[in-house]
Amino acid sequence: AQSVSQHNHHVILSEAASLELGCNYSYGGTVNLFWYVQYPGQHLQLLLKYFSGDPLVKGIKGFEAEFIKSKFSFNLRKPSVQWSDTAEYFCAVNFGGSGTYKYIFGTGTRLKVLA
């Protein structure tokens, strides 16, 4: 079955620390990969996405992610976090190739950045 896993459920960092959040999926076919952020009380916002090409993608707010096909991973990184990055981060995968619209979300990682 297709699934998306995020192993870090809660992460606490101090400002200026580096961030890496893991995302793995189980599927050997064509996928589109996304990271969304949800600030407290707000809606989901797209941080970045990968469709094809350069496996290192850059998103908004200084975030980037690297697609490693051999590891079925799409980890999110930020060199130096800020207090305003406190939020919940969701990895999502669109398991495509056959026109499916099924986007599956990981369980989310709750990030708290201490000022």
Binding site: N32, Q42, L44, Q45, G53, F90, G96, Y103, I104
Partner: protein, 117 residues
């Protein structure tokens, strides 16, 4: 700002009420989605409409009834809900047909907070 608009933002309804959630997008997208999100949980797919036809129903109880009047509008009709149905209901849209290397980004609205009493 999101280009997917949802109304109402907040709704409180009794278990015998009938109400509707509405969603609108003007991005020319041909796929529209309803997701349900409980607190501290990821969004769960409920329904997908593709080109105004129901494409996916994730075994959602019949007390939730989706409707897609046209390519820009998506409704979710609610009837005889249970308190456990209280959640954030998210509408989303994407371009439509799988576009291969171009991908298919899904854009979310701000959601409708539903409380069933």
């Amino acid at each position: 700002d999101t280009e997917v608009t949802q109304t109402p933002k907040h709704l409180v309804m009794g278990m015998t009420n009938k109400k509707s959630l509405k969603c609108e997008q003007h991005m020319g997208h041909r796929a529209m989605y309803w997701y349900k999100q409980k607190a501290k949980k990821p969004p769960e797919l409920m329904f997908v409409y593709s080109y105004e036809k129901l494409s996916i129903n994730e075994s959602v109880p019949s007390r939730f009834s989706p409707e897609c009047p046209n390519s820009s509008l998506l409704n979710l009709h609610l009837h005889a809900l249970q308190p456990e149905d209280s959640a954030l209901y998210l509408c989303a849209s994407s371009q439509g047909a799988w576009t291969g290397s171009s991908g298919n980004t899904i854009y979310f609205g701000e959601g409708s907070w539903l409380t069933v009493v």
